[in-house]
């Protein structure tokens, strides 16, 4: 209690200033203060505004490494925009990254969303997990803040009739069929098993794979489930061994998928294993060891190594490591927000939304435009296999057709895709 009172006293003038500022803009409407954070900066010229861009991902917990990767993509884009020194609406703009940890928990999503809304961010890049992005999106819709996810692939995110949700990756209902199509073309299984980690992401992706396999006449065993933290899959896998599936798909993240694959081979399962993008990382070889050999996995979009060279160089130079999976997508998402601000000549979310909808941008992951729902037009899916410990792209699947990666790589270098 005393702490609270102290805090109030200390921040009193600032609080007052913000309140006055907000009410002024509400009355006059002449000043654009929305998205301008705490107002003009103290030290610099009076004409500079601070624009906050929110980023939300799990920065703690089992997939914090992926969260950090996403955050780095945003951080890089923000830093580059600040270097360019943009002028929007006649004022110099300083972009500030406001990064929040949503812990990958669905119930934290709306809380983080509200935090962004209260802080008056101009736009949000996130959330990493579909399961978090979906509940949070209602808050963004209410607050009218555009939100672009670089990694949430569950179709539901953009199917809610919201005006503010976008994504720079493909959807599970594009990725699931892509990996299923590849399995069918390459391995022709008669009986398949599908496992998921009971998360929105894993389950959604697994559903799409199952749907496609069934539609093409493959028998699919009853769904098996685990959790995203599970290390012991032996019971489930033993059960599957009795049914002898020829292909097994798992929808989940690498930390669970690694042990799963390793234990499957220990138990003598010979089926081909396929994973979604959450388990299509270089860590698979470390986590599963030699068992990773021959794994088929898919990623929404194009391989990290195929993203634009300037991005890769800048990322490496700034963070001293390679991007993992989605950093190029969050980097693009951030740039899209900034581009939309420039195009609308405003940092007001209500004004930049229309220009975001009609944007045409060439980013680190290629050409980006949005359809009516906010999904990326013509999203590509990449199929990888693990060969001698390396995750190598083998094919690109684009609206149902499988293109050999070698053929695709030829066109990619021209930048026109």
């Amino acid at each position: 209690m005393p702490m609270h009172r102290n805090a109030m006293r200390r921040y009193h003038p600032l609080v007052l200033a913000i309140v006055v500022g907000m009410s002024l803009s509400a009355c006059g409407g002449k000043e654009e203060s929305s998205g301008a954070g705490a107002g003009s900066s103290v030290g610099g010229g009076a004409e500079q505004v601070t624009v906050r861009i929110g980023h939300a991902a799990p920065l703690t917990g089992a997939i914090a490494h992926l969260g950090k990767d996403n955050e780095s993509g945003v951080e890089l884009a923000v830093a580059e925009a600040n270097m360019r020194g943009l002028t929007i609406g006649g004022r110099k703009v300083f972009f500030e990254l406001m990064s929040e940890d949503d812990e990958g928990k669905p119930d934290k999503g709306p809380i983080v969303g509200q935090k962004f809304a209260d802080a008056g961010v101009a736009g949000v890049v996130g959330h990493l997990n579909s399961g978090v992005a979906i509940p949070a999106s209602a808050i963004y819709q209410q607050a009218g803040i555009p939100v672009i996810s670089g990694s949430a692939t569950n179709p539901q995110l953009t199917e809610q009739g919201f005006q503010v949700t976008f994504r720079t990756v493909g959807r599970d209902d594009q990725q699931g069929p892509a990996v299923a199509d590849y399995l069918l073309a390459r391995y022709q299984p008669k009986l398949a098993a599908v496992i998921d980690d009971a998360s929105s992401y894993g389950e959604g992706l697994a559903n799409e794979v199952e749907k496609t396999l069934k539609a093409k006449g493959v028998a699919v065993l009853p769904r098996e489930k685990g959790t995203d933290k599970q290390a012991d899959w032996k019971a489930v896998l033993t059960k599957l061994r009795g049914r002898k599936p020829e292909a097994v798909f798992f929808g989940g993240m690498d930390a669970a998928a690694g042990p799963l694959l390793k234990q499957a081979r220990e138990l003598g399962l010979t089926a081909v294993f396929a994973f979604g993008d959450g388990a299509c990382t270089d860590k698979m070889h470390e986590l599963a060891g030699p068992a990773a050999e021959g794994l088929v996995c898919s990623q929404a979009g194009i391989p990290v190594s195929s993203s634009s060279q300037p991005f890769l160089d800048a990322y490496k130079a700034r963070f001293g490591r390679e991007p993992l999976i989605y950093a190029p997508f969050t980097y693009d998402a951030t740039n899209l927000l900034i581009e939309a601000m420039v195009a609308a000549d405003s940092v007001d979310p209500a004004k930049l939304l229309p220009s975001l909808k009609s944007i045409a941008h060439v980013g680190a992951t290629g050409r980006i435009g949005f359809d009516d729902k906010g999904d990326r037009k013509d999203a590509e899916m990449t199929i990888f296999t693990v060969q001698e410990g390396k995750v190598l792209p083998v094919a690109i699947v684009k609206s149902g057709t499988i293109i050999d990666f070698k053929d695709f790589a030829g066109t990619a270098s021209t930048g026109d895709r």
Partner: protein, 330 residues
């Protein structure tokens, strides 16, 4: 049949790990009637330390036999965990020894959170992969497979249990521990240094935790700073199942829980397939005709079995399978 046998093997391996962790809970409870909820974190730290050492040695390119490297990792993890166990008791539990029972329980949870986050700071938030240096040949019999690591885990845990029983029932320290457990005041009057005995109990429990950590790490191949939480809770359930405070009970409870979990996960889907009883309603029959199955509870209930067992034990036999003492002190 081979599937059933395989599930039993899976369960016994898992159960061996639970049993060793449960011993840590039960020893501490037996002596100070405290549930040391930070014990799962000790296991995690054991795994992490061993992983770092093993990775360092394996990465340095020194030609040592893989088994020796793992042994070195374990031998480094044990003293570190012992230190953690000692410090934990000194900082969080000893000052509260006379306090109401809830107070040390809360510090235990606090210590667990602190250890978890310390581990996050030291070893990062990423799931770390255990270097897979030992060749893991898989043996086959009667259609089931068992890997060398599984054999080692089961064998080692039996050896550890035997060693602990010898310690408690055949040595002077064991006598002192049992006396302290029975009545600390009187034991003190008889010249037993109670503080030392309690400290040693924590230290021994932590050493067992370190061994369990290495087992889990080498078995699954992953270590993560949150790995101790669920493992700890399940081992705690195992200790309660066997009768908390009772060494043989912890071993039995651990093994039993492992087998229940493996069999439960393996068979719950088929057992709750409503297609066995599709005459109940037309809707069910329809689903069965379309999909061939209508499963009510799936394998995602894997983590639930331990806690269902815990609830049943607490309701129907609070003293556990082998516990004589009614848990009025808990």
């Amino acid at each position: 049949m081979d599937i059933f046998l395989q599930q039993i093997i899976n369960g016994l391996t898992l159960g061996s790990v639970y049993a060793i962790v449960a011993l840590g809970y039960t020893m501490v409870y037996g002596i100070v009637q405290l549930i040391n909820f930070a014990h799962g974190e000790v296991v995690m730290i054991g795994a992490m330390v061993a992983l770092s050492v093993i990775a360092a040695i394996a990465g340095s390119g020194v030609a040592v036999s893989p088994v020796l490297i793992i042994l070195a990792g374990t031998l480094c993890a044990i003293p570190v965990c012992m230190g953690v166990g000692f410090a934990m008791e000194r900082v969080a539990y000893r000052p509260l020894r006379g306090a109401p029972r809830l107070a040390p329980l809360i510090t235990a949870i606090g210590i667990s959170i602190i250890l978890q986050h310390l581990a996050m700071l030291i070893w990062s938030r990423n799931p770390l992969s255990f270097p897979q240096i030992v060749a893991n040949p898989v043996f086959e019999f009667a259609g089931a497979t068992i890997s060398a690591v599984q054999v080692a885990i089961i064998g080692l845990s039996l050896a550890v249990m035997a060693g602990l029983s010898l310690l408690v029932y055949r040595t002077r320290l064991g006598i002192a521990m049992r006396a302290t457990s029975e009545n600390p005041q009187v034991a003190g009057l008889m010249g037993i240094d109670i503080n030392r005995v309690i400290s040693l109990t924590f230290v021994i429990g932590a050493a067992l935790g370190a061994v369990a950590g290495v087992m889990v790490g080498t078995y699954y191949g992953v270590a993560h700073y949150t790995m101790g939480a669920l493992l700890g809770l399940k081992a705690f359930s195992a200790a309660v199942l066997g009768g908390i405070g009772n060494l043989a009970g912890a071993m039995l409870g651990g093994m039993l829980l492992g087998v229940v979990e493996a069999l439960g996960t393996g068979y719950i889907g088929d057992a709750t397939d409503l297609c066995h009883v599709d005459w109940i309603s037309a809707t069910i029959a329809e689903r069965c005709a379309a999909d061939g199955h209508f499963i009510l509870l799936g394998s995602n209930y894997q983590d639930v079995f331990a806690f269902v067992v815990l609830i049943f034990v607490l309701v129907f036999r609070p003293s556990g399978l082998l516990g004589e003492r009614v848990s009025d002190r808990a």
